[in-house]
Symmetry: none
Subunit: 153 residues, 2 copies
DNA sequence: CATATACCCATTGACGCCCATATAATCCCA
DNA sequence: TGGGATTATATGGGCGTCAATGGGTATATG
């Protein structure tokens, strides 16, 4: 599976280390399996992460915004200048920078949420609540959710 | 046959393993025959499952949404983080995650119901009752439908 | 030299792989 | 076509491996 899926809650030890879930590590390209990038989520108090290869895709997305819009500047500033690269040790653990932990309100536990081509790291309770909220929003528009899930072709 | 059809009731052993019915295994593509995805059914207290190919298609669809919209996040959270991938061992067995067993009320036995492009896993009694209920609903509708169509003057 | 971080080793529990058996399904040949 | 032989499926259990976690120590970096 080459997508970040499912959710995991891992502990952060005294040294600040936390295991990237094994299934997430396997999504990273064999070449750069010991490096990920992290940045603040724009829309939620969470951290987003992915392999370094994904950067190009993000750049493309931002490039597709209207160059003269405020959004363009805001997104490109918020994302690119805030990106932090982090190394993964032999045991599959990494350090979450203090600033990002503060932003997400993370202390002793980190909840990892698969998001397909990237993942989010939440303070566990906040993360679970966010999942519920977002499911509730979607259920209001049953049509669109069904559209996503049902078999086409 | 490349569809999930028929129903089976299998036992869950001490280790939590359960056999995916052989005919279901044969539906999975030879390439990814040792991996399936599971998720909570939206409308019923049951687990739905299918091969990973279906997931990749959903990923493609979500990826086509506006990257910066709220819908994008809602979909990717509700779908990717709720999906669980599980491996099928050499004997054709897999583990149902505890959270999903709770959701479906499954303990020692699991009932598999073919649904065409996907399948459902139920607590046996609930599953059989659901089958009866939905058949009853169908018959009722048919009756009123026939009434609509045949009652002239 | 002090703090942070990487590497090494250890522990525990979960999971995958292997082997075994019983029952059911299929085959094959006289 | 009957019936024994072979294969497949569902199920049970032993055991090695790996993932998550904890801690000691070396190394780097200012």
């Amino acid at each position: 599976m080459d997508l970040f899926v499912s959710k995991y809650i891992n502990k952060i030890d005294k040294k600040g280390r936390v295991s990237l879930p094994s299934s997430f590590r396997n999504v990273l390209p064999k070449a750069n399996r010991n490096e990920i990038i992290l940045y603040k989520s724009i829309k939620t108090p969470s951290i987003e992460g992915c392999g370094v290869g994904r950067l190009k895709e993000i750049a493309k997305r931002i490039n597709n915004l209207d160059f003269f819009s405020e959004d363009y500047d805001d997104f490109s500033t918020s994302i690119f200048s805030e990106i932090i690269t982090t190394n993964i040790d032999k045991e599959g653990r990494f350090l979450i920078p203090e600033e990002l932990k503060l932003y997400a309100g993370i202390k002793n536990e980190a909840a990892f949420f698969g998001q397909g081509h990237y993942f989010q790291i939440w303070e566990p309770k906040k993360g679970l609540k966010n999942t519920e909220d977002s499911r509730r929003r979607l259920l209001k528009e049953k049509k669109s959710l069904r559209m996503m899930l049902t078999q086409h072709k």
